[in-house]
Amino acid sequence: MNNLIPLFVAIPLGIAFIIPMISRRIKGVAAFLGNVTMIGLSVMSLVSIGKSGMYHMGGWDTPIGIDLRLDGLSVLMLLSISIVGFAATLFSTRYMQSYTSRHRYYSLFLFMVAGMNGAVLAADIFNLYVFMEIASIASFALVAFGCGHEDLEAAFKYIVLGGVAATFVLFGIAIIYGVAGTLNMAHLAMKIGNKPLSNPLVFALGLFISGFGLKAAMVPFHSWLPDAHPSAPAPISAMLSGVLIKAIGVYVIARLLFNVFGITPRVSLVLQILGTLSMIVGVLLAIGQWDMKRLFAYHSISQVGYIIIGLGLGTPLGIVGALYHLVNHSVFKSLLFLNAGAVEYSTGTRNLKRLGGLYKTMPVAGSTSLIASMSIAGIPPFNGFWSKLIIIIACVMSGHYWLGAWAVLVSILTLASFLKVQRYGFFDSLKISVEQIKKTPPMMALAMILLAVLCVGMGFFVITGFDSPIIIGPAAESLLKGVFVL
């Protein structure tokens, strides 16, 4: 089992190095290899459910070498990365045909997946930084992949802010190293965890929260997301909004706060404030948008707010809710972006004012988007309802009535804005002539159906225990265990 852990990183890396070499000789091999790799990774992460372990790279002991740590939370992240990634590659096979040099696309895609997997498995903060950079650099290039005006502008904004975030994180790592003299998370937790933080460490923590918060697009740092996510090709938007902002943003914040620094009331308060701000600002900005993908992108900010609030509560139920919402969001938001991509592919536009009546002409995209919209708006019995319910109950139970009230209000506004999407986009009368609408290719439909089935299916996770559903329970447990022990 343990030997499986480095392969999560090594396999996508190896394939990504091979693709540019052989794609000139064999036609269509890039798409094939991309899909096969993602299937393989999905199988590997399914196999590792319920497992845990440490892997010592190069056989060196803990503080000397680099470790990889697999626990409940990493498994949860790996699962969502590989399944959403598989749906995205499946979608890409047809969608990316209008772009040139697709082998670079698949290679960069796999680098991004490898980077996220590496960041999720890392048990060493510098290693985390390196893999975060792999994932982000691949995503910068992928956002600009279309080379249009908007793509380049958004990508430039993204790369500048990403560079600033990376510098902040590196500065934080430097300060921590100067104080504690080690980089391994467990070793670090032994030295600084659960103790009152000295001034340099508080500064380092602030740098980490702003750096990773920038990657997670929390509100004071969100300005890149509404440009970057809509400008990317649809499968990439799905990956960015679905998993990237979580794997190198929210996940890292949770990992560092709970398992390395130890969560204190003051840090909780900061998280609650940031989460509430993201939730409210995101939804208020979303509601006026007419560009479908831009609207979804703003909702990503808002939904990340829910996750941060759940984490900020610090109670077991809050964390379960947050992690449940994290996976749910990665499924339904990537589904929504794939829907938008399918609509754009078929009609050539994603402006809601010019769309309408697509429910009849594009039944697959229409019905899956209905499922996803109901999930994100929190309509029972879909998965989004349960996770939001858990977060709201956790708010109320821990005495934060106002947070609960805001969460309910934001949920209503979310419902309103998705009613708008459904009404103007899918139910209204048809504004474009039927002949102009291309049929949805079967691969795209398959990808969307896969995610829609997951959307429905994950609603039933809650049956396995309200306060510890399968897969999510162990993940929450690994955060609740407190700081790592060596």
Binding site: A144, E150, E153, I159, A174, S223, L285
Partner: protein
């Protein structure tokens, strides 16, 4: 004192990133920020009267052990230099393309997206 000067270098970079209009200048400012952080890491590893962390043939091992500066930050900075070189190449590529599309390096004119 020297740490504070290093922080000033980083902040100059940050100032440039936030206020400058020319996209090449933004790239340059980011490079300056990276320099500052790299320097900070190496400053942390410095030891008074240190020697460089490579064993010379003529050097006694105990002397090396007592005086070698911290090698770990140097390895980290090597990695980070490579990463910033990669970032720079990608950013310059984007700058060239942006210039081709918009005909200017001015970020206030590169504005098609709202918000």
């Amino acid at each position: 004192m020297i740490y504070s000067l290093c922080l000033v270098l980083i902040l100059i970079g940050l100032y440039g990133v936030v206020t400058k209009k020319n996209i090449v200048k933004i790239v340059i400012s980011l490079a300056i920020m990276e320099y500052g952080v790299n320097l900070f890491l190496i400053l942390i590893g410095y030891r008074n009267n240190g020697v460089h962390p490579g064993i010379e043939e003529s050097e006694s091992f105990t002397h090396f052990l007592a005086h070698s500066v911290d090698p770990l930050p140097q390895a980290l900075v090597l990695t980070s230099i490579v990463i910033s070189l990669g970032m720079l190449a990608l950013m310059v590529g984007m700058c060239i393309r942006l210039y081709e599309r918009y005909g200017t390096f001015d970020i206030t004119e590169i504005r098609r997206l709202r918000g």
